[in-house]
Amino acid sequence: MIQLAIEIPYWGQSLLRVLGGLVAVLLPAGTIVYLFLFKMMSFMQSRLGPMEAGPYGSLQLVAEVGKWMQKEDLAPEAADKSIFKIAPLVVLLSTFLLVVVIPFGPDALFTNFAVGIFYGLAVASVSVLGILIAGWASANKYSLLGGLRAAGQLIAYELPMVLATLGVVIQAGSMNLQDITVAQNTGEIFGWGGIGNPYIFTQFIGFLIFMIAVQAELTQAPFDMPIAESELVSGYMTEYSGFRFLIFFIAEFATAGVFALIASVLFLGGWGIPFDWFGWTTIDSVDNWMNVAGPLIMFTKMLVLTFIIMWVRFSFPRFREDQLQTFAWKVLIPLALANTAITAILKVTF
């Protein structure tokens, strides 16, 4: 428990956790959308991006949210209405479920699951359900094609993602994300603890596989066959407009942020800076101000990884889905298995 000057009753803590969850999901989404989608993409395309709403277009997101919310709530006549309506919420639900296990500081976390990463990867698959539902219930052939492509792709790329995290788990010796963070920050590289032991160095193959799998899980280019704007208009999102489309939109970038947070926990050392710098040894000896600095550090690391995700998105053409599947099954999974095997061998011998 956080040692604060005042005693917060349990319902207060729960309220704070809920608010923290909302912030942890929506703040990354908003920042990613403005910084990368509006501004970075524009600069890469030699244009300026939104400049009108707010200074340098910073309030564009507010304008967008307002615009989407005041639109008419349409559903196609032939659509299965109830399922059509809950599909975006299912996708957003998986994001919220996922953010629950991410530690933001030594004590700033929502829960402390012993099987944190296992749970995280499991609930990440819930979004596949939402996409499938959206594709089917839209009563539109384009959406159906998009939904089916998504099903195949997302399920195929879950395996490399899981296998990539296996290497981290083996190296850290625990599935608990807090333990993984601590292990990285107290670790040493060849006896030197100067930068801790972020697993990106030892697990660089795992990191690459994980980032590629994340790109595919988010249906971002080059894996955006399910959306494939030039073919399927918007894929499974074609029939959505107004608030429901906003939910999909937010969910897409929120999930990007959350996956980036998980990746920074797994590979970049999470909320921590190497304990060696301050002379801490275990999690309990970490100072309290780390609970405030931790989220900021996580935020920065998330921005770095999301920058990479978005940069790849705006640069590459898209794969055809059979090429995509071939890549997942014939390239990534064997590579991830090999990575796991090598990690296990090295862990035992050293």
Binding site: M41, M44, Q45, S46, R47, K141, Y142, L145, A221, P222, D224, M225, A228, E229, S230, E231, V233, F314, S315, F316, P317, R318, F319, R320, E321, D322, Q323
Partner: protein, 390 residues
């Protein structure tokens, strides 16, 4: 006469009946997917009806005509100079190139030739409109494949060319500059130097696109081996332009026919590719853009002094006769068959547009391909709706 709504209903029923008739004939299971007429991938309102079996196309048929403007009928009530402004709008991206074959046909019938200065400037403007057209194609190719960034570079660099065309002719997209006997005006001051600078920029653009798009492994894996059209099939269907040259046929109307333009004054090569797949078609177009820059640069040094227009009467009556002229337009071979009866205007004009033939091969080319490959093949065949539908 039926009312409009009844007519719409009849059309709808007829199209459904056509679809049903085809269902019975083909007896296949599967989904019928309509690509278009409003669709991000088609350059305009083209509708492609596909019968899919899973993700594979069993049968595909383009349904053109959403943009049919009745050009051949309209030319019958226009005078010869008026047809020029009409004809700009067939291929609206490289629009100066549409005027040239018609003007050359009229000049053939009148048995006059434009002065050398006008011929060279005509050729320069022709090549500039080719660059404008194909640079947009290169950018759009990225968008069709999913790479959303190159198209902005294409639009940015294309603006330079459009500014050039505007400063010379007054119109970015529809110059309406060619006249029987020459050109409307002479070039403005400083145009030649500016064009030289713009050609340097366009060459850089071609290099960037080659690096960004053609060098990308994903792009190559999407394009290579897709939509192979053998040379004899290409000739059967009358493909032209880069589509024909990408199938290995060495034929370029700029080099292979004797025509009152100045391509023979420049030193340039015709690019062919033996593969005949989508990659070849796009690559040939890229190389052609570079060659166009080369041609323009060489011709800029060779503009002779002289009048810009021969002496023609104020009101032009073209003598009776028939003439055919076709040129190597950005989209392919575009030709005009002009029948004149000695009037102010033509008696009949048959417009042979490149995209009509290029798209007629689509039913043949799309058999058995995946849905994403539909987009690849369409993108590589490159059509403009105004050219198909006239």
């Amino acid at each position: 006469m039926t009312t409009l709504s009844d007519r719409q209903q009849l059309s709808y029923i007829a199209s459904q009946a056509a679809d049903a008739r085809l269902n019975v004939e083909l007896e296949t299971e599967g989904m019928t997917l309509n690509i278009g007429p409003q669709h991000p991938a088609t350059h305009g309102t083209l509708r492609i009806i596909c019968r899919l079996d899973g993700e594979q196309v069993v049968w595909a048929e383009p349904s053109a005509g959403y943009m049919h403007r009745g050009y051949e009928k309209l030319t019958e009530v226009r005078t010869f100079p008026q047809v020029t402004s009409l004809v700009n709008r067939i291929d609206w991206l490289g629009s100066f190139a549409n005027e040239v074959p018609f003007i050359l046909a009229a000049e053939k019938l009148m048995d006059i030739e434009a002065p050398p200065r006008a011929q060279v400037i005509r050729t320069i403007l022709f090549e500039l409109s080719r660059i404008a057209n194909v640079s947009l194609f290169l950018g759009d190719l990225g968008v069709q494949m999913g790479a959303i960034t190159p198209v902005f570079l294409a639009f940015r660099d294309r603006e330079y060319v459009l500014n050039l065309i505007e400063s010379a002719t007054g119109g970015r997209f529809h110059p309406n500059f060619d006249r029987i006997g020459g050109l409307k005006d002479d070039l403005p001051k400083g145009w030649i130097d500016e064009t030289r600078q713009v050609m340097v920029k366009l060459r850089e653009f071609c290099d960037i696109i080659e690096d960004l798009l053609f060098g990308n492994e994903i792009f190559q894996s999407r394009m290579r081996g897709i939509g192979i059209i053998p040379a004899d099939v290409a000739k059967d269907y009358g493909l032209s332009g880069a589509n024909l040259r990408a199938s290995g046929v060495d034929y370029d109307l700029r080099r292979d026919q004797d025509i009152a333009m100045s391509w023979d004054k420049a030193d340039w090569t015709v690019w062919t590719h033996p593969d005949g797949d989508s990659w070849a078609r796009c690559w040939v177009r890229l190389q052609e853009t570079r060659e166009s820059c080369k041609i323009v640069e060489q011709l800029l040094d060779q503009i002779p002094a002289g009048p810009i227009m021969t002496k023609v009467p104020r009101i032009i009556k073209v003598p009776e006769g028939e003439a055919w002229v076709s040129t190597e337009n950005p989209l392919g071979e575009m030709g005009y068959y002009v029948v004149s009866k000695g009037d102010l205007g033509p008696f009949r004009v048959k417009i042979r547009s490149a995209s009509f033939n290029n798209i007629s091969i689509v039913p043949w080319a799309l058999k058995g391909v995946y849905v994403p490959d539909i987009i690849t093949i369409l993108a590589s065949l490159y059509f403009i709706l105004g050219d198909i539908d006239r």
